[in-house]
């Protein structure tokens, strides 16, 4: 029998409330506004997880800016079986050559995806490339990449909400929470 999903009941703990996320995003927005004054700023959001963060962050940046979206295949996803290699599912819609690019991520964990993205984007000759992430989870980091703006450093727990998913669900939660182990642990 398929288990029914109860979004909030599946959360064991609220790690970051809606209010805390909003406050920190506003702080990051002010910092980015100050740092990028006078620049040709392009925010690049990595679908799908960073969508809510991107939408809120860009409205907290008081500068003329462009936004663009990318999507990259993930190991274990449906794209894995066909190619065995990470690939761009949706590329940028415009050139970033000469632009000051700020890559907006939802979470940095192992750094494997970010490592690939940074190499890919550097090949497109931006004037500068910096990284902004809502969540930083350094416990399992394999690739050390300097991150310029970090919303929250979080402990090694599996989190969902505010764009982050488990099985493509829970993205629409307004907060970031820790998924109850019973949700993802196979039954005995």
């Amino acid at each position: 029998m398929t288990r029914s999903i109860d979004l909030e009941a599946d959360i064991g703990e609220v790690l970051l409330s809606e209010e805390a996320i909003a406050a920190r995003t506003a702080e990051l927005g002010r910092q980015i506004t100050a740092d990028y004054a006078g620049s040709n700023l392009t925010l690049v959001s990595v679908l799908k997880g960073s969508l809510p963060f991107m939408a809120d962050l860009m409205r907290d940046i008081a500068l003329p800016l462009r936004i663009d979206l990318m999507e990259v295949s993930s190991y274990g996803g449906t794209a894995t079986e066909s190619s065995g290699l990470v690939r761009i599912i949706k590329d940028l819609s415009a050139s970033i050559a000469g632009e000051d690019v700020l890559l907006v991520e939802d979470i940095i964990d192992t750094g494997l995806t970010l490592n690939y993205l940074v190499r890919y984007l550097r090949g497109k000759n931006p004037a500068s490339l910096r990284i902004c992430t809502l969540l930083d989870k350094p416990a399992r980091r394999l690739v050390e990449i300097p991150v310029d703006y970090v919303g929250f450093e979080i402990p090694d727990q599996f989190v969902v909400g505010y764009g982050l998913d488990y099985g493509e669900r829970y993205r629409n939660l307004r907060f970031v929470g820790v998924l109850r182990p019973e949700v993802y642990t196979p039954p005995e």
Partner: protein
């Protein structure tokens, strides 16, 4: 001109094979057990314990050691890792515990694999006890090795000391055995000057790149 992909190494554990696939997917180069680090010597200077991290990621200058044993059983591995960090502070190494690996698989939606890849179920070769390693190393150090190949009969397996001689960029070769001294297995400080820092006899490391 295309070249044939290099054959996969014989991983000792299924979890290592899975991590290799993940690294390949994200186009991170790796080599499997390329280096052996001596971490304990007898009084006569022979290597009695060594540590061969599972993976080396050359682009990141990082070793990765994977252990999917239960946390309480990794005490020995933690000790070896601490010793390695003391002796080789320039070496960057990350240890992935069973929980870390499990969470990694969860992240990639492959948690169902976790049990199959963990513990002894996923091992390709039986685990070796610490005592057996030390005894074999002592026997090897006493001169039962044939050159650098370390073969010593069908009922034995290559000792860490033998593997250290057979391959790896960082190794120290002990002085010839002499009478007296403390019992084999006594951990002592390494010789002040490494007696040999040469490459493995065949001079190769197995460098696996993803198929492009």
């Amino acid at each position: 001109m295309t070249t044939a992909p290099e054959p996969r190494p014989a991983f000792a554990h299924a979890s290592e094979a899975e991590l290799a696939r993940i690294l390949d997917f994200y186009q991170v180069r790796w080599t499997y057990e390329p280096d052996t680090f001596p971490i304990a010597w007898s009084m006569s200077g022979d290597v009695v314990e060594s540590f061969s991290p599972d993976f080396y990621l050359p682009d990141l200058d990082l070793y990765v050691e994977l252990t999917t044993l239960k946390q309480k059983l990794v005490r020995k591995k933690n000790r070896k890792l601490r010793r390695l960090r003391e002796l080789y502070p320039e070496v960057r190494i990350k240890l992935f515990y069973a929980r870390d690996f499990r969470m990694l698989l969860l992240k990639f939606g492959r948690l169902a694999l976790a049990d199959d890849l963990s513990g002894t179920i996923g091992q390709a070769t039986p685990p070796r006890s610490a005592d057996r390693i030390v005894v074999e190393a002592a026997a090897a150090a006493a001169g039962h090795l044939a050159g650098d190949r370390g073969t010593a009969g069908s009922d034995t397996v290559p000792s860490p000391a033998a593997r250290g001689r057979r391959r790896g960029r960082r190794r120290r070769r002990g002085v010839p055995d002499e009478a007296g001294g403390l019992p084999v297995g006594t951990s002592v400080e390494p010789p002040a000057t490494p007696l040999s820092t040469g490459r493995a006899p065949d001079g190769r490391t197995r460098d696996h790149r993803p198929v492009s």
